[in-house]
Symmetry: C2
Subunit: 344 residues, 2 copies
DNA sequence: CGCCAAATTGCATAGCTATGCAATAATGAT
DNA sequence: ATCATTATTGCATAGCTATGCAATTTGGCG
């Protein structure tokens, strides 16, 4: 018993031979707008169909230097927001003829080799959704002069553009919201220390509280942006933190961990005993068992903005682009509303 | 003000010129195991570094026919299991030197053009995580003779291998578990009609119930594998379905929707009034507000199996491979345990 | 039928790397 | 010092498509 021979794609020359025309004719048949007579076109199409010919994009990449590939680097720390983002990105990239190469980077260890690999595929751009992108990593990525788009990062260069949520302003809004809901003792549940997003959210929250005359703010420190980390941190630190009556969390997954720690480990009621809020508005935030007040950052808008910037960068390589700040909006749900009874 | 010139990668010839050696020498320096003297190597590396040379993989693809690219097709219906799966896939593919091209397919509309695009990038294989893959789509994909791996699909051909959970057996176990927990009136919350996974789970569940002497099984029909669909279906059909006291759902997201409908719309208690179970064991299933009994299907194992099969397919193209069934295990949590008090 | 413009077709080439083969250099043995 | 052996190097080429340019055909029209 013999295995089939390895798959061998038919080339345009093969098709040309079968159709009795030149290779150019084949190429033109598959190039929109090129000059081919109807008769030739028909012969070519028939031969192509018989050989199951599919033009390769590879030689084009070699000639043009454009691969139509975008690398997407994810952190994969289990934040569902990434999944939404990725899907939206795919949908908006598709009509523009781009394909995504998706990579996961644990931390930013090994970025040098990562950048090299991406360069070897000649990707047209890199979109990084990492929560943390160190300066050294950024400079490694920038060495090949590939346009890079990051989120909530502080890095800037002609090759790196950052798109950020309006973390400070939205967090200030959240402070006011919690104050209006009668909170007195505030806590902020922070993500990893080196996450700029987390820092900015804390800063905005703290400043707004101070302006309202609240000096005391307890900062809890979670190690990762995960449910488990939110749960454990809250469970272990809530009491010694002085039992705050409102916890604002650096993102939604943390908030959900915090909520469950309050409910099932500390025996408290949300929102009756403690108000809880998050950031991101992941789908799970609207699940009724959590029904979490949070800051929404629509992936559609985020991706649309990212691609607008990206197109500029591709059109004018090396030209310095302005960083962009998106407006986030507060979504009020029952996790911060003592009087509301849940309805459906 | 002038924009920088468009990025132009240095070629091996450029490096060779600068280093005063032949292009071959450059290539050999970057080819492990090739014959280069230490002196030449040093000169090349220095020149390469000066020019920021990174060998392109594109000409290799052209010569070898292998792109080291794997296409991953996702359904993107908001099932968090996909995210886990994708991440695990990335991690196991990385050390083997493969990169992933990720695509989302809404339904299986437009598969023909999708297959063509993937073929034009000369992807080495396609991994489809679509819940639904129609026969026509499959045959379109198979036209280019690219190895395809699907999950929970009934399609078979030398180019398509399916990896399935042991849906029937696991569902039978679930039936026994629910019986043991004292359930009397059973319901199954079905996913989209054309999903084989959903059908098999229903079949296994029903058969096991019948063998235990339970003839009555209410089947609820959700339109999509989503929280919202699970919620709405349960809300609208629970009463007229005769108020079952146990609902087994085709997957976890459906189950969570069902739970919240029972709790917040119908005012019932889970597990006191109704037992609820799901399938997949997504991370959210262990979040304490749900704490859902389910069938686990570790992504690590799933991906490991998929890649083992894939390697065989790549080694022996066109050789018929056996489909694989994985064992799923029941994870018991409090959503089916009336007596347990939640602890943390 | 003849001529000009327009459409179509074919030829030749660029783009970049890995590798077989032949040529050259280095090494080691005697 | 001479020769045999091994290591290194360079040359030339395959792999496939899009496209500028020149050559050819077609079509229109007087």
């Amino acid at each position: 018993m013999k295995a089939h021979p390895a798959r061998k794609y038919a080339s345009s020359t093969d098709v040309a031979r079968l159709a009795g025309v030149s290779q150019s004719a084949v190429s033109r048949t598959f190039t929109p707008g090129a000059s081919v007579s109807a008769a030739t076109r028909a012969k070519v199409l028939q031969a192509a169909s018989a050989l199951e010919y599919q033009p390769s994009i590879i030689p084009q990449i070699m000639l043009s230097g454009k691969s139509k590939l975008i690398a997407v680097v994810l952190g994969g720390l289990g934040n569902p927001y990434y999944a939404e983002f990725l899907q939206e990105l795919a949908q908006q990239l598709e009509p523009r003829g781009y394909k995504m190469i998706v990579l996961y980077a644990q931390s930013d260890y090994g970025f040098e080799v990562l950048a090299a690999q991406l360069a070897s595929y000649r990707v047209d751009a890199i979109i990084s959704a990492l929560a943390v992108l160190s300066s050294t990593s950024a400079s490694e990525l920038t060495a090949f002069k590939i346009p890079i788009i990051t989120f909530n990062s502080d890095e800037r260069s002609p090759w790196i553009v950052s798109i950020s949520a309006n973390n400070r302003h939205a967090s200030a809004q959240m402070a006011q919201h919690l104050l209006a809901r009668g909170a007195k003792r505030f806590a902020f549940l922070c993500g990893p220390v080196d996450s700029p997003a987390s820092q900015h959210r804390l800063a905005g929250f703290r400043t707004a509280l101070q302006q309202a005359g609240v000096e005391q703010l307890i900062v809890l420190q979670a190690d990762h942006f995960t449910y488990e980390s939110g749960f454990e941190t809250t469970k272990q630190c809530f009491v010694e933190a002085g039992k705050p009556d409102a916890i604002y969390c650096a993102n939604d997954v943390l908030a959900m961990g915090a909520m469950d720690a309050l409910r099932f480990s500390l025996g408290l009621n949300v929102p009756k005993d403690v108000l809880v809020a998050g950031f991101d508005d992941i789908p799970e935030a609207s699940w009724l068992s959590y029904d979490l007040t949070t800051i929404t950052q629509p992936p559609v808008l985020l991706v649309k903005t990212a691609l607008r910037v990206l197109e500029k960068m591709l059109a004018q390589p090396g030209q310095k682009q302005l960083s962009v700040t998106l407006k986030g909006e507060l979504v009020e749900r029952s996790s911060t509303n003592r009087s509301s009874s849940r309805k459906a």
